[in-house]
């Protein structure tokens, strides 16, 4: 059969399969909206009550005043449900703090390595005397520290903290989560040391030697256990959409990581397709679902309003599950891979518009007329920024996969800018917001210097926008120059210089933001700073719901 026809047919069949799965899972009440399921994240009487633990009393009252204007007056809250949540939070506090602490450590390591690598691209004779400081190693240290160190620990913190809340039961097997965390972080530390010393498996996203990967895989496998135990002991009938995202993503990352790192199986061109099957799915099936799941919880919870269309969130989940896993091969466009493979990936990349639009309509509907609440809630600001950037990075990704655009963007800094739009502007911003929400509950303390949250937000958000816009322009010009055979190759190098310098400035701003963030976490954990109210109360004796402190 003609290969183009075969690939299109295959893509079509797969897409239809995905949609059938979605319809099948929804056959009960497909056309009826389901506000009850969407309200599962709230205790009885919590709808209409704002909840941002990052705020102090005054800030929270101001936010609540805004919410009160918009929502019907809340009913009396149900003390037993709130107590169950307090129990759930207590059970997960220690492992969650462990993951957040490691995430902070790797964030600093990764940011510094990233800035060094960025400067080296326009100052190539800077720090050249030591092998471990060379560009190729610093870049790899950066990637592994932020991907496996910062973002993975952040995602695990979100999962381990939210699962007991969503399932209304204490975390079971917390020690497995901590043991798994220890394995993963030992593996990340060893992997970064290996890469810096020149021991690498040589493939992007898979540099950590497979001998060390055994520890990381064992860590992920151990963390699946408490998730399963907790699921088995749940006290809710309905699994909220975030639970599916978390459950599926834990399974996906474990399988992806295992298959991609199997030694001695993959080689040559097939290894390259496996490499990008993994590389893109690490983003699409691990960081993205966890971040979306986080937004689906935190955003409605902060504003005290359930998501508008629960069924759209179902559509989003199943279309993501069926379209996203196949998009990776567009990284090999024009390369020595079978033509049907890149075509398949391009088709599925475009299909990714469906889950993204489903997500965006849902968030937009939920936030309708409530965008201004972000002025009162720093956590909401991070979440809204992240959600918006998910839309931006996904639409850009779908367009970028198209042959005509990919031909220019491929092999250039445009791709690097796109990766940061997804991993930073979307995933990292959501994780920052989640930490600002979670840590007051985890440590039972307030954030000591709320202004630092603002400083972090502006440094990170302005920094990443300058980074992405500047580097996208530079990368696009680079791609155009490279495609024009009448211009010498060197021109495609020299014309990127001002954009690379701009990137170093933006990256430095983001890194300063990270130091502010980590210093704030440290001050909070060590009990520095003004003690406004002592230990947090989740619930005061009068029976009034008290926001987290």
């Amino acid at each position: 059969m003609d290969s183009a026809v075969a690939s299109l047919l295959a893509a079509f069949v797969l897409s239809i399969l995905g949609l059938f799965a979605f319809i099948w899972s929804l056959r009960k009440g497909l056309l009826v909206e389901n506000p009850r399921a969407a309200s599962v994240i709230f205790a009885r009487g919590e709808i209409g009550r704002a909840d941002d633990p990052a705020l102090d009393d005054g800030g929270h009252d101001a936010l609540q005043a805004q919410v009160t204007r918009l929502e019907p007056p809340p009913e009396a809250t149900d003390a037993s449900q709130l107590n169950a949540r307090i129990e759930a939070d207590r059970s997960s506090a220690f492992p969650v703090f462990l993951f957040i602490a490691f995430a902070c450590l790797w964030l600093l390591v990764g940011s510094l390595a990233g800035v060094v690598a960025s400067i080296k691209l326009h100052e190539p004779d800077w720090l050249v005397d030591a092998a471990w400081l060379t560009f190729g190693r610093m870049r790899t240290v950066h990637l592994n520290a932020v991907i496996y160190g910062f973002a993975s620990n952040g995602c695990l913190a979100v999962i381990v903290w939210l699962l007991p809340r969503l399932l209304r039961t204490p975390l079971r097997g917390a020690s497995w989560a901590m043991l798994g965390g220890a394995f993963i972080n030992a593996g990340v530390a060893a992997g970064i040391g290996a890469v810096a010393s020149g021991w690498s498996d040589g493939m992007e996203f898979l540099e950590i030697p497979w001998q060390i990967d055994i520890f990381i895989f064992a860590g992920f496998a151990m963390i699946i256990l408490p998730a399963l135990f907790t699921l088995a002991n749940r006290k809710v009938d309905h699994l909220y959409v975030s639970v599916w995202y978390f459950g599926a993503s834990l399974f996906w990352i474990a399988v992806l990581f295992l298959v991609a790192n199997l030694p001695g199986v993959h080689y040559g061109v097939q290894q390259a397709t496996t490499n990008w099957w993994y590389g893109h799915n690490a983003l699409g099936l691990w960081f993205t679902p966890v971040s979306i799941g986080a937004i689906y919880y935190f955003l409605p919870k902060i504003i005290g309003r359930p998501i508008r269309s629960y069924n759209l969130s179902l559509l989003g989940f199943w279309t993501l599950a069926f379209f996203y896993p196949q998009v990776g091969a567009h990284h090999l466009i024009g390369g020595p891979v079978p033509g049907w493979l890149t075509t398949l990936s391009i088709v599925q990349s475009v299909m990714m518009v469906i889950p993204v639009i489903a997500f965006t309509i849902n968030q937009g509907g939920t936030l309708w007329g409530r965008m201004h609440l972000a002025r009162w809630s720093p956590t909401l600001r991070f979440m809204m920024f992240g959600g918006l950037m998910y839309l931006a990075s996904s639409v850009e990704g779908s367009l970028e996969a198209l042959r005509s655009i990919n031909a220019v963007a491929h092999f250039t800094h445009f791709t690097v800018a796109h990766a940061h739009l997804g991993m930073y502007a979307f995933v990292s911003m959501v994780l920052f917001g989640a930490v600002y929400f979670m840590l007051p509950r985890v440590l039972a303390r307030e954030w000591p210097y709320p202004r630092l949250i603002d400083a972090h937000f502006w440094l990170a958000s302005v920094g990443i926008l300058v980074y992405v816009i500047g580097l996208s322009i530079g990368g696009w010009l680079q791609g155009l120059a490279m495609l024009d055979a009448s211009r010498p190759f060197l021109e495609s190098v020299t014309l990127t210089m001002p954009w690379l310098q701009l990137r170093s400035v933006a990256g430095t701003a983001m890194t300063i933001g990270h130091f502010v963030f980590v210093a704030h976490v440290l001050a909070m954990a060590l009990g520095f700073g003004p003690q406004r109210s002592g230990a947090a109360r989740f619930w005061d004796p009068v029976g009034r719901l008290v926001h987290g402190k």
Binding site: L14, P124, T134, G136, E204, G268, A321, P338, G339, V493
Partner: protein, 198 residues
């Protein structure tokens, strides 16, 4: 959704389809590709050099996959014909790359066959290409007051070597250059062989 089993089944099926498409099918398709007769397995020194290439992350700036003619004019830059799966028969791990901060290197051995040029260029790229942003790799070399008998002295353009010293290549630098010189896929590929990639 009330049922974890549905979730698990859906997650497994969706990933399974993708794995079949992106991992298993390519495996089946390229499993039986024969190495071209003109492509020689890497020698010991070339393989050691390949490890130096991997250790220092050359792949993050240099691809090894001239693109198809209907997508880009890589051939007109002298980077060679579009590559085919058979060209990578001995590549473990693959080093196709996704970035061209520098030029494609799949045929660098044919394009620049001078070991002296490569050694000097690794020591200080800007002595050869003024506007290059490739890192210098002085740690792959040693400086001596006087060369010893078995030293490979790097012949550098005037002014590139430190005053009063000679620059000597380490074993790693020599291996790396051996590997770079082995990168030569300029042999013709028969249409039947390339048809397998369609």
């Amino acid at each position: 959704m009330e049922n974890e089993a549905k979730l698990a089944a859906g997650a497994a099926v969706s990933l399974g389809i993708a794995t079949a498409a992106l991992v298993v099918l390519p495996y089946v398709q390229v499993r039986d590709v024969e190495p071209p007769a003109q492509l020689k397995p890497y020698t010991e020194a070339q393989l050691r050099g390949r490890q130096v290439y991997i250790a220092n992350g050359c792949v993050y700036c240099h691809s090894q996959q001239p693109r198809d003619r209907n997508l880009a004019l890589d051939a007109e830059r002298g980077w060679g014909r579009p590559s085919v799966p058979a060209d990578y028969s001995y590549d473990r791990p693959h080093l196709l790359g996704t970035m061209r901060t520098g030029p494609d290197l799949l045929n660098i051995g044919a394009r620049q066959p001078s070991a002296d040029w490569h050694l000097g260029h690794l020591y200080q790229p800007r002595a050869y290409v003024g506007a290059s942003n490739m890192p210098a790799y002085p740690f792959l070399f040693v400086q001596r007051d006087r060369a010893r008998d078995d030293d490979r002295v790097v012949s550098l353009p005037p002014g590139a070597a430190p005053a009063g010293k000679v620059v000597v290549a380490t074993r790693e630098a020599l291996d790396l250059v051996e590997y770079l010189l082995s990168l030569d896929r300029t042999y013709p590929i028969l249409p039947t062989a390339s048809a397998a990639t369609e």
